[in-house]
Symmetry: C2
Subunit: 283 residues, 2 copies
């Protein structure tokens, strides 16, 4: 279906605007992604918007034509609207020429198989949607299976998280779970390998992050931006590692810490130095 919207008070415009709020995203089960590049990444990863909104003054582009065609073939809706209305929907002075409305993904933890990837990223009470999106992007780069959000994290379907993920929202699995559910899932996995939970730590028994015995599947856990990881979370980790801090500060940005650890773990695992190392809960 294809139509044109020219009125600011059009119900579709109102419904799309409302998706800026988490409450409405939850109620409608929908979220927005902005920009041709992001929507193309989504399409290539097999995700098409249910509704595609295009600025009436857009420049023609072969990727946009491909996107339009795919949305139409899938029975989606296409809307043309003046750039002022796109600006109102996105609350940006210079909105992208195209936005898509997607159905939110299933984020049940139970549908993920911990053995399906060598690395996973896990965030506990991560509050900054930019950090969340950046972790998704890093997860894609290191070949992670996905991002698991523990406790009250930022919303992965917020505009800022979607944007910061640079398309990785559509390629990485995302799950949301409480700590107890996560631990149960992690430990219940069948098969010969045991999952390894790893966190950066200042504890006395933590080992240097470089050369530590990372083992697949390796779950890299980072905590809240202000408070870090609660001690009880750190205590159950199979491996606690220290990152050298050579300056005055005692911590890194959460997404940066996750990336440095994930690249180190990925290198260790890829080098074949450690295929699987029995985890050592006491160490």
């Amino acid at each position: 279906m294809r139509r044109s919207i020219t009125g600011f008070s059009n119900p579709t415009v109102k419904a799309l605007r409302a998706l800026r709020d988490k409450k409405h995203r939850r109620q409608q089960g929908r979220f927005l992604a902005e920009g041709l590049r992001l929507l193309t990444d989504a399409r290539e990863a097999g995700h098409l918007p249910e509704l595609l909104v295009m600025a009436s003054n857009r420049e023609p582009h072969p990727l946009l034509a491909a996107l339009e065609q795919a949305v139409e073939q899938a029975g989606g809706e296409i809307v043309e609207t003046p750039p002022e209305i796109l600006a109102k929907i996105t609350a940006k002075d210079n909105p992208q020429a195209v936005i898509g409305m997607f159905a939110e993904f299933d984020t049940a933890l139970g549908r993920l198989d911990p053995m399906s990837a060598p690395i996973w990223l896990v965030a506990q009470a991560l509050r900054d949607p930019g950090n969340l999106g950046t972790m998704l992007r890093t997860g894609d780069a290191v070949g992670a299976g996905g991002l698991i959000l523990i406790d009250d994290c930022a919303d992965p379907f917020s505009a800022e998280a979607v944007r910061a993920s640079m398309g990785a929202l559509f390629t990485q699995s995302i799950a949301q779970a409480g700590w107890d559910e996560f631990r149960g899932w992690l430990r219940a996995a069948p098969g010969p390998a045991k999952s390894q939970l790893v966190a950066a730590s200042l504890a006395a028994d933590a080992r240097p992050y470089r050369g530590a015995s990372y083992a697949a599947p390796c779950f890299i856990l980072v905590g809240n931006e202000s408070r870090g990881l609660p001690p009880k979370f750190e205590a159950v980790c199979d491996l606690r590692v220290t990152l050298p801090m050579r300056g005055r500060a005692d911590s890194l940005n959460a997404a940066v810490a996750a990336a440095v650890l994930a690249y180190e773990a990925a290198a260790t695992l890829a080098l074949g130095a450690v295929e699987h190392h029995p985890s050592d809960p006491g160490a």
Copy 2:
């Protein structure tokens, strides 16, 4: 000097509010930092605010008392004001109970000695103040000498950059320069060692980032968030390295890429594997 401000239209309130804009920061040569933790980091690094603004409903705290005393002893001004006025100054619903106004630092490149640190971070046309602040924070952690901003970068004195730096704004040197000035400075340094300029690259001749011949002083260069590094910048680097990208995306967040490279370079240099390796401009 100590006084109380209760009026929203007080000229000091107006002047402080204006510092949210880069134009006014430049004109006044002043910027704001918010929160007791940040201001304490600044104090410990030897930076005191010229003006300290405290909420009239603040909780007493020994670090706040120490800060007040230091500002008074240094001849600075102390202002008490209702939280509503602090909210107006910072444009936040829940402002921190204390903010400081600082004189902007000298960001002339010429005052930095490239030989004074083993690692430096360099950003070209970095537009996101959060990324900029995160790079400062990472620089502190890896023992970098500072952050050098090339071309039109985000303002390091913006509220978002200051906040993301988590105090590293006050411990890292910051310089702003054009590309030609930077190159001249980099190559003109006296002494036996030659500075090494390193960038992540997709070029065919790039070497794996892990195990590459990092050499002090090592300058880690990242480019703009959307466009990456211009080819002419990449071409003059002494070392081009690739980061494995195992997913669909072909790049990392700029601050993440800088951190992964900086930690790798720091580890190489600290291991003593490479004290100084003659750079190889053709490689």
